[in-house]
């Protein structure tokens, strides 16, 4: 699973603000459907700026925290005691 970028296509006006505002290229414009979509949700940084700039609240970020890769906090776990 990954974070999900939910778009309400009935409400969306197609202004592309969400595409422009995403700083890590998660949201792209689908030329065929003429609408935005979450192309790389796994890279979403949950900054919520896309939600904030949408003039009609048509976009929603639903994070999946389990999907984020987290290395062990200590490399030598055996030293960590019980």
């Amino acid at each position: 699973m990954a974070h999900s970028i939910r778009i309400d296509f009935d409400a969306c006006t197609g202004c592309r603000e969400c595409v422009d505002s995403c700083f890590v290229d998660v949201i792209r414009w689908d030329e065929d459907k003429d609408a935005p979509f979450g192309a790389y949700p796994e890279d979403c940084q949950v900054c919520c700026v896309c939600e904030k700039v949408c003039p009609v609240q048509a976009i929603e970020i639903i994070p999946d925290w389990k999907s984020k890769y987290i290395p062990e906090p200590v490399s030598e776990k055996e030293r960590c005691g019980p």
Binding site: K52, P63, W65, P71, P73, V74, S75, E76
Partner: protein, 569 residues
């Protein structure tokens, strides 16, 4: 002569700026103001033309400066004694201290909104240290980008700069690709300013620096400085369901508890302006002693250091949205684990923000610690909240005019940035290689391996020779593996560049850290826990020589500086 246009779209400019965050836009505006006749071009992989690019577009809007109640000279002394530990370039630090107030006025004139009291005086929260923290609207880059465009600065969005071009020993431009449609772009430029951020290893959310600029400068032969300090570390929240929220609380460090005892006070008594490795040491030692889980008590925070932060309403609204997504806080007390942030920013620059390669400048997070202004710390903000932005403005305002003067001089002598067909063709092959492979390791897998090697607290923060050697072995292997990466599309191709930059940066970090046999600032070694001014008032320099990473030291010119550590005097 073979036609360059057959390889890709050719752009010519006088000053090419890679990265359009706060540092890149500051450089663009001041370069154009210095020499309006020059062409100034900003290229960014995000939408910089509208101010939506980089960490700069995601800040909390804190802007620290030396207020009218503070003595700039006291700020310099405080930074030397408590933050940078005399590894600072004191001349640059002094200039930073004295110019911080004028900077606030300058950015206001570009349209950046700073909260003010009645009468127009800047409002700020006063720390019990020689600075205060003002609140700016986090949309600042939107305003700066509009102002830059009004001045005639050109901005190209969605292009990833993959490498620099050289003509003889000097920089002659850069090449890159469009992240959406994959087209190849060739930029001929007399002068290039790198403003493309630090290295964050994709660990903590929103800390999005992937070290492309550090890598490009290194490949071009530039020297690196202070790479051993690239290890900012905060704490991540562990949700009772086991989720880890790597949002970078920036607040837990003074309020860590183990079995009901405040271990922050035990290891690091008193009030601290921000995090450092000792806060992580407290977590690490108490965990090893079997006193975990370690908790952060934010209720204690709210009562104390909460008063040092004031936020712009826009910043508060953004924060509250994020907080709601991060699973509701059932309690103000929760388990934490170290949350590695990185912030390697080691491209070495002088007072004009020139790197050691002619024609190449670097400003902002890419060269924050390489400038040595802040000393033994990673890219700012390090220990002073709100100096990431101040530093980006400061360095941009110095590098922009210097680069413009440089480009103007070259123009006078008709030395233009010229692309060489063979070089451009060879770079094209290298850049697109991961698209042409049939199979290969994915860039994400490479990135996860780098994270495993550097992010654990006992690797990236609490260091020892034995553990660093293990990490270096892993990194060397990862660097070899990353030669055979497969990109699925152009977004993935940008990830491949990140996945090349990350192990390279990690190697610089560990090689520099191994040499420094002492502890100082953000460099903490369990096997050398003391500061050693007799042997280590030196900078560590990293440089590529014929494909090998060479590490050497450079004496700090203490004789030229007004302040010396006690033990030297």
């Amino acid at each position: 002569m073979t036609n360059l246009d057959s390889l890709g779209t050719v752009h010519s400019t006088d000053v090419l700026i890679v990265g359009g965050g706060a540092a890149g836009l500051s450089a663009a505006i001041t370069a154009k103001e210095t020499s309006p006749e020059l062409d100034v071009l900003v290229v960014d992989k995000a939408t910089a033309s509208r101010g939506w690019a980089g960490k700069s577009a995601r800040t909390a809007g804190l802007l620290s400066f030396v207020t009218e109640q503070d003595d700039p000279e006291a700020f310099v002394r405080y930074c030397l004694e408590n933050i940078g530990f005399y590894l600072n370039d004191q001349l640059l630090l002094r200039e930073f201290a004295f110019s911080s107030r004028p900077i606030t006025e300058r950015i206001s004139s570009w349209g950046v909104e700073i909260l003010r009291r009645e009468g127009g005086v800047i409002d700020y929260a006063k720390w019990p240290f020689p600075w205060g923290t003002a609140s700016i609207n986090p949309d600042m880059c939107t305003r700066m980008a509009a102002y830059a465009r009004e001045l005639g600065v050109r901005i190209i969005d969605k292009v990833v700069i993959a490498d620099l071009m050289k003509y003889e020993n000097r920089i002659s431009g850069a090449v890159g690709f469009n992240i959406v449609n994959g087209t190849y772009h060739i930029f001929e430029a007399a002068t290039v300013i790198l403003a493309n951020g630090s290295q964050n290893y994709d660990m903590t959310l929103r800390w999005c620096g992937t070290g492309n600029g550090v890598a490009a400068a290194y490949w071009a032969g530039a020297e690196m400085r202070n790479a051993e300090f690239g290890n900012m570390c905060d704490f991540s929240r562990v949700d009772p369901r086991g989720w880890v929220i790597t949002a970078g609380a920036h607040t837990a460090h003074d309020y860590l508890y183990a079995k009901g005892e405040n271990i922050s006070q035990k290891y690091r008594p008193g009030l601290h302006s921000s995090m450092d490795p000792i806060a992580v040491l407290a977590w690490y030692r108490e965990t090893l002693a079997g006193n975990g889980p370690i908790e952060a008590h934010l209720d204690a925070f709210a009562a104390e250091s909460g008063k040092f932060f004031k936020f712009h309403p826009e910043a508060l609204e953004r924060q509250s949205r994020i907080l709601k997504k991060s699973a509701p806080l059932d309690s103000q007390r929760f388990e934490v684990i170290p949350g590695f942030i990185g912030e390697l920013s080691c491209v070495k620059v002088d007072h004009q923000m020139r790197t050691t390669v002619p024609g190449l400048f670097a400003v902002g997070d890419v060269s924050g610690s390489g400038s040595a202004r802040a000393g033994a710390v990673p890219a700012p903000p390090a220990k002073i909240h709100g100096t990431g932005l101040l530093n980006a403005f400061f360095m941009g305002m110095k590098g922009g005019p210097a680069a413009a003067i440089h480009a103007r001089a070259l123009k006078t002598y008709s030395i233009q940035g010229k692309a060489d067909y063979d070089q451009v063709a060879a770079l094209k092959e290298k850049v697109y290689a991961p698209m042409n492979l049939k199979d290969g390791i994915s860039p994400r897998d490479v990135i996860h391996k780098v994270q495993d090697a550097i992010a654990p607290a006992d690797r990236g923060v609490i260091k020892s020779e034995e553990r660093m050697k293990k990490a270096l072995d892993e990194i060397t292997k990862i660097r070899r593996e990353s030669d055979a990466m497969k990109a699925k599309d152009f977004h993935d191709l940008a990830k491949c560049l990140d996945a090349q930059s990350m192990p390279l940066c990690a190697e610089m970090f560990f090689r520099s850290s191994l040499i420094r046999t002492e502890s100082r600032g953000f460099h903490y070694r369990e096997d050398y826990p003391e500061m050693d001014n007799k042997n280590w008032l030196k900078w560590i320099i990293v440089k590529d020589e014929g494909g090998n990473m060479m590490v050497s030291t450079e004496d700090i010119p203490m004789h030229r500086y007004p302040y010396k550590p006690d033990r030297l005097a």
